[in-house]
């Protein structure tokens, strides 16, 4: 069973992957144009406690 197919995946985010995708998305946006220069986004994680994915 892949990570993708885990039912728990929908509710337990793999923050590392989330952030990676966000960074890539944001980088693409920056290289294009800053469409909303009056907005600043702070993306945060907290107390990750060594977790990199759900148990299963």
């Amino acid at each position: 069973m892949s990570l993708r197919s885990l039912s728990s995946r929908a509710r337990v985010a793999l923050s590392f992957v989330v952030l990676a995708v966000l960074v890539l998305a944001v980088a693409a946006a920056v290289s294009d144009t800053i469409k909303q220069p009056d907005k600043l986004i702070i993306l945060s994680t907290t107390d990750v406690k060594g977790k990199t994915s759900p148990c299963g």
Binding site: V21, S44, T52
Partner: protein, 408 residues
């Protein structure tokens, strides 16, 4: 994701701290997460006592080695009263200069380094950091707080000048943040289950006019990046193999200690001799396949996962290691009803309650768990198999369905 990509360019990534793992054998996870944060260009990483669990020298050495931007405004060397890490960083993001500082509680145990460290009273450190950040031109100030929910909010209310607080240290998930006076707060839960997004509206000088916050999960509508997923999976598989060895050694020690205790787990093979109907029903539930789900993702040697997928992990008579498979794997009778040696108490003292289920289906593992709705799905009269269908579990071990070990 698409909305962020199409709408914003000014994004700052931070981690609030508390990212070190629970147990010593999982030390590798700390290294992996630090690499990940560097790879993601994380602007600042907060500090908590959790990061000090293996001592200050160890932490400083890997922080330096990884060149990780750890910050703490109030963690000081006891002898010199100088900060252990940078007290803050300033990150340029479009028209904003974002000053980020971190605070930890002065009431926590600092572990092996407790004698050589001092934690300054948080509000004093906050006032000093805010003052310095403003003098250095910061237009937006963000606090990475390891003070817990209440103390973080109290500090935001008492100390002016903080635009956003990321609340951490046993803080429950709240999907929406709120304003505490002029500060927008974030409650992103823990264990990396959620990412919190604080959106700040800037004026022409790059200062905050309004702020809002929302924490969200990555749902199936967002595709994975295969190359990133592979990096994570490769690490986890290697860690699981390493943990398997540690688990074997621990199990051998426990087996020597646990001989004939008064009360102990028995395993479902014994139960099903009398409870055949209940056993047949149990085999239609995902509880009867819980172990396989760990094997599938190679977490069958990860201590923090095993407990909810076997009978009596580390307890007398319970699962100690892989040598106890298949007799004590899966969520069996005794997970819900208690130790078999206390059978006579089942009808009086050992009732199945919400607490029975939330030992595993708690906020971190199953944030949407509702006992009233979920209990009927596994009740012994329910032969629908709906828990298996909902989880889309493939019964890869047909023996489980045909009469393997266990019964509930």
């Amino acid at each position: 994701m698409d909305s962020i990509k199409s709408s914003y360019g000014q994004v700052v990534l931070v981690d609030n701290g508390g990212f070190f793992p629970e147990s010593d054998p999982q030390m590798d996870a700390a290294w992996f997460l630090m690499d990940a944060m560097k790879m993601l260009n994380t602007a600042a990483v907060g500090t908590s006592e959790r990061e000090l669990r293996w001592g200050l020298a160890y932490l400083k050495s890997i922080v330096n080695q990884k060149n990780l931007p750890m910050v703490s405004s109030n963690l000081l060397e006891a002898s010199t009263r100088r900060p252990v890490f940078k007290p803050y960083v300033i990150e340029k993001a479009g028209r904003a200069k974002v000053g980020i500082f971190s605070l930890m509680s002065d009431k926590v145990d600092l572990g092996p380094a407790r004698d050589s460290l001092k934690v300054e009273e948080p509000s004093a450190a906050a006032r000093r950091s805010i003052d310095e950040l403003k003098k250095k031109g910061a237009t937006v100030i963000v606090l990475l707080s390891q003070l817990g929910k209440v103390e973080s909010e109290d500090l935001a209310a008492a100390v002016p000048g903080i635009d956003a607080v990321i609340c951490g240290h046993n803080v429950p998930l709240l999907q929406k943040g709120r304003m505490v006076k002029n500060t927008v707060t974030s409650y992103g839960g823990e264990q990396g289950q959620y990412v919190s997004q604080t959106t700040i509206t800037l004026d022409a000088k790059g200062k905050m006019t309004t702020g809002e916050n929302e924490s969200f999960i990555l749902g199936p509508e967002i595709p994975d990046k295969p190359e990133i997923t592979k990096v994570v999976k490769d690490f986890e598989d290697a860690l699981n193999e390493k943990l398997r060895k540690a688990e074997k050694e621990r199990a051998a020690e426990v087996q020597q200690q646990v001989t004939q205790q008064t009360d102990h787990f028995l395993g479902a093979d014994l139960c099903q001799r009398c409870h055949q109907g209940e056993t047949a029903q149990w085999k239609t539930t995902s509880h009867s396949m819980a172990w396989q789900t760990l094997i599938d993702v190679k977490k069958d040697a990860t201590p923090e996962c095993i407990g909810c997928h076997v009978v009596g992990y580390k307890a007398p008579g319970g699962f100690q290691g892989s040598t106890d498979a298949p007799r004590l794997v899966n969520v069996q009778c005794e997970n819900c009803h208690g130790m078999g040696t206390r059978h006579e108490d089942y009808s009086s003292k050992l009732k199945v309650t919400a607490q029975t289920c939330t030992n595993c289906h708690h906020g971190e593992n199953d944030p949407e768990f509702n006992w009233d709705k979920k209990l009927p799905m596994v009740a012994h009269g329910n032969m629908s198999g709906e828990t298996v269908q909902r989880k889309k579990i493939k019964p890869t071990n047909p023996a489980m369905m045909k009469g393997g070990s266990g019964g509930q």
